[in-house]
Amino acid sequence: MDTAPQNNIINEVTNKEYEYGFVTDIETDFVPKGLNEDIVRLISRKKEEPEWLLDFRLKAFRHWLTLKQPNWGHLHLPQIDYQDIIYYAAPKKRSEKQSLDEVDPELLATFDKLGISLDEQKRLSGVAVDAVMDSTSVKTTFQDTLSKHGIIFMSFSEAVKNHPDLVRKHLGTVVPYTDNFFAALNSAVFSDGSFCYIPKGVRCPLELSTYFRINAANTGQFERTLIVAEEGAYVSYMEGCTAPQRDENQLHAAIVEIIAETDAEVKYSTVQNWYPGDKNGKGGVYNLVTKRGLCRGDRSKISWTQVETGSAITWKYPGCILKGDHSVGEFYSVAVTNNYQEADTGTKMIHLGKNTRSTIISKGISSGHSQNSYRGLVRVAPNAINARNYSQCDSLLLGDQCGAHTWPYVQCGNESSILEHEATTSKISEDQLFYCQQRGIPTEKAIGLIVNGYAKDVLNKLPMEFAVEAQKLLSITLEGSVG
């Protein structure tokens, strides 16, 4: 059957504004450029937020006014003009393309390499999705399963409306608005995000992914994620996407807060592949994120796994506060920088409880003219007896114009703790490369292979479907970097 005309019709229909409707004031749904108290109030009003949330925003805003943009990172972060940003835009529909033919062929080639299905390709590149294949049905079954277990998983705005007490109880308890400049900014103007609540004793049967939240596509640049795992709960949460995101927002200042109660476990995985700028370092996203988990209860566990390949500037330190006794924090990271990208990323492990353990595995890969820094803090408080930390931070250099830096901070405040840190920096092994080439594997493929082997420790920690894509992503990111 000839499906093309049929598709065209569907596209046409889905692209049309709803003519008859009760959907109004689409045009007015934005606020003017700039940032002041009125804008904060306006955002809050537009989102129909309760009084306490407006207070929270205003307090954050007033605190933000007293702060200066930090500049201590090993980055070239320009002074951002915060009055030149639109802080709230309605989830406006992107101008949709009629078919994949209109999409940048380079982007499509990348999709193919990643092995992304045709329908997903359309969704990601802004092509209207086949009406039949709309993920609504998937979403419904998905939501049914979750609600059966009492799991709450919805957008932040919905959560504020439907579960205000839960949000109010936990918002800002891990990352207070006073935490840092960008956290204060986010707390004042955050647009939307995700809220996830796993009740006591529930083991979430699915890997939660923002992919399934239909409105996740346009959460905007000031995203806020809050994950709460009650006593004995377990959840594996995935955010981000391996596919390249052509996003116009230059500044992304998100906050992720995770709370794990007694015996709870949260596994957070993310793949970040925002637009890194062109080959000459022009453009690209500034990814300035505050991510922190609190192991509040005894024997709780929080694990961060991240694959960072995008963004012109990545500046974030997903950390764990190990407050409960016997709690465990883990951090697995692969950060790849190419061309003129800069990354200053790592983790913070704050040991407060007794017998707490943390593991840090960080693999940095830099090529082109990029700068890749690991910066991590391991702090053991005097009362955190028998704490244990193991950190391994390796850097791989591809090319003689790039830089790889390691800045670990190891602070031990008692005698019963054991902390270890080791790091190596080297270039890709000539022997391994030679061996591959000798067997007829072209240089570029060989490098992809070696890099994947090098990052294996971290990739293994990713959920299955993510891991497969992430591996391909690593090779693609480094394409053309050798020669």
Partner: protein, 467 residues
């Protein structure tokens, strides 16, 4: 925090006033170059003052707290006739001895010349007697990242020691510098030293810091070291001062082609110690080995800052710092290896290990690697932990008492550093000192010839047959 800031402001003003009223005396013998350097440094010091705890390289360093504001600036013409009876731990070794009392050269001839062309003596006299030689090297090693302590030293220095080894000369005997602080009134001492090794020269130098009185003095010593092509310098630093004395010991080393620098900094006692070591590997083939050992107890604090700058390809650097912390002692290790763009084939290793013995002791380690070249072999590691319980058990099981097993393990830990001492007589002494220090039997007052505590024979009571 605020108080400290205020105090550092007070001390800054005191020093500036001191300079103003003594400018003529301080600058009397300056060459034009030294004068320019002084003025520039004074200007920077006036503008920026002392570093504060918010600066990355000075975080958690307690040396800033040593600026208590009750200093007296020692009069420049103060005469130190004869030092009090003093018995150095390393006294009967075959060395050339230089004595500095309160930062001022003390001895009969202030500049001693040897047949082979070697010159040792006072920095001030050297500047007067050999201005050409002095100007060629003075101020040439200053690190790019300066700070208030360096600036105030460059601006206000009065004296120090000077060692010059000419081309193709190997110094026959090690040079031993004994620096004493003996003053009743909290002196703030600026010592400036200059060590020059021309091409193919070699030298072993022992530099000891000791103090007599229980005074809250602050020593701000700055040593410039130039090591020419193929030259080799072994520098040993021994710190055993009283718990009220604060010591800021800065070394700035510039190495030329195929030169070798080996440094061993051993700190036994000291109220607050900060060791700064800047090594610039300026030409290919240079090698730097920087070792350090610190055994701290009570409220002592030690802070080792180390920066190795690999500017060119084919250089090697090894750093190893180890420490044992007892009671409420605290330590900071701040290592920074910088590999410049293009400095290929660099080999840099950096290591810091610590043993913490009590719940109140603290360690803060920051081993940094900053690398801009790809064909390099760089690694760093840091560990903090306790004595190996299995090793303890093994030894106890073999009939070694717990106390002895503990000593043995700690000694083995420390010996890894003292083994790098290339002067056998000195190594033996240091080993002995380490053993006594670990037993808590070595304190800064051991240097006093009166020996309030009776000298004993020290050895490890281990029956080897039982091992």
């Amino acid at each position: 925090m605020k108080d400290n800031d205020n105090n550092s402001g007070i001390v800054q003003q005191q020093l500036l006033d001191f300079y103003k009223s003594n400018e003529a005396a301080i600058c009397a013998d300056d060459t034009p170059k030294v004068r320019v350097l002084r003025n520039n440094a004074l200007q920077r010091f006036q503008d920026f003052g002392f570093p504060n705890a918010k600066m990355e390289n000075w975080r958690n360093s307690k040396i800033i707290n040593a600026l208590h504001g009750n200093f007296r600036m020692p009069a420049l013409d103060e005469k130190h006739s004869e030092a009090k009876p003093f018995s150095c731990e390393l006294c009967d070794m075959d060395t050339e001895i230089i004595m500095l009392v309160n930062g001022v050269f003390s001895g009969e001839t202030s500049l001693k010349k040897y047949d082979n062309g070697m010159v040792i003596g006072s920095t001030r006299t050297a500047m007067k007697a050999r201005p050409d030689l002095f100007d060629r090297y003075f101020g040439t090693t200053m690190p790019a990242e300066t700070n208030g302590f360096y600036d105030v030293n460059t601006a206000l220095w009065h004296d120090g020691y000077f060692v010059y080894v000419p081309k193709n000369v190997a110094a026959e005997r090690p040079v031993q510098v004994i620096k004493l602080i003996d003053n009743e009134s909290n002196p703030f001492v600026q010592t400036r030293n200059l060590i020059i090794l021309e091409d193919n020269a070699s030298l072993q130098l022992i530099d000891c810091d000791d103090s007599f009185n229980q005074q809250s003095s602050l020593i701000n010593a700055f040593t410039e070291i130039v090591i020419g092509d193929n030259a080799s310098l072994d520098k040993y630093k021994l710190q055993n001062i009283n718990d009220n004395t604060s010591l800021l010991n800065s070394n700035s080393i510039r190495q030329f082609g195929n030169s070798r620098f080996r440094s061993n900094t051993i700190s036994f006692n000291g109220g607050m110690i900060r060791n700064n070591i800047h090594v610039a590997l300026d030409a290919e083939g240079a090698e730097a080995q920087v070792y350090g050992l610190y055994l701290m107890d009570k409220h002592q604090h030690i802070d080792n800052y180390l920066k190795v700058n690999h500017k060119v390809p084919n250089c090697t650097s090894f750093e190893k710092f180890k420490g044992i912390l007892d009671d409420e002692a605290s330590a900071v290790f701040n290592g920074h290896v910088y590999v410049a763009p293009g400095a290929q084939k660099t080999n840099a290793q950096q290591n810091n290990s610590n043993i913490i013995l009590t719940p109140k002791a603290k360690i803060d380690a920051k081993p940094f690697l900053e690398i801009y070249a790809d064909d390099v072999k760089c690694a760093h590691g840091t560990s903090t932990g306790q004595l190996d319980q299995e090793a303890m058990f093994y030894m106890q099981q073999r009939g070694i008492s717990k106390a002895n097993a503990r000593m043995l393990l700690m000694y083995a830990f420390a010996a890894e550093i003292s083994n790098h001492i290339a002067i056998p007589a000195m190594q033996e002494r240091i080993d002995d000192m380490i053993k006594r220090r670990l037993r808590g039997e070595l304190s800064s007052c051991d240097n006093c010839v009166l020996r309030c505590s009776h000298p004993k024979e020290y050895h490890f009571e281990i029956d080897e047959n039982k091992l």
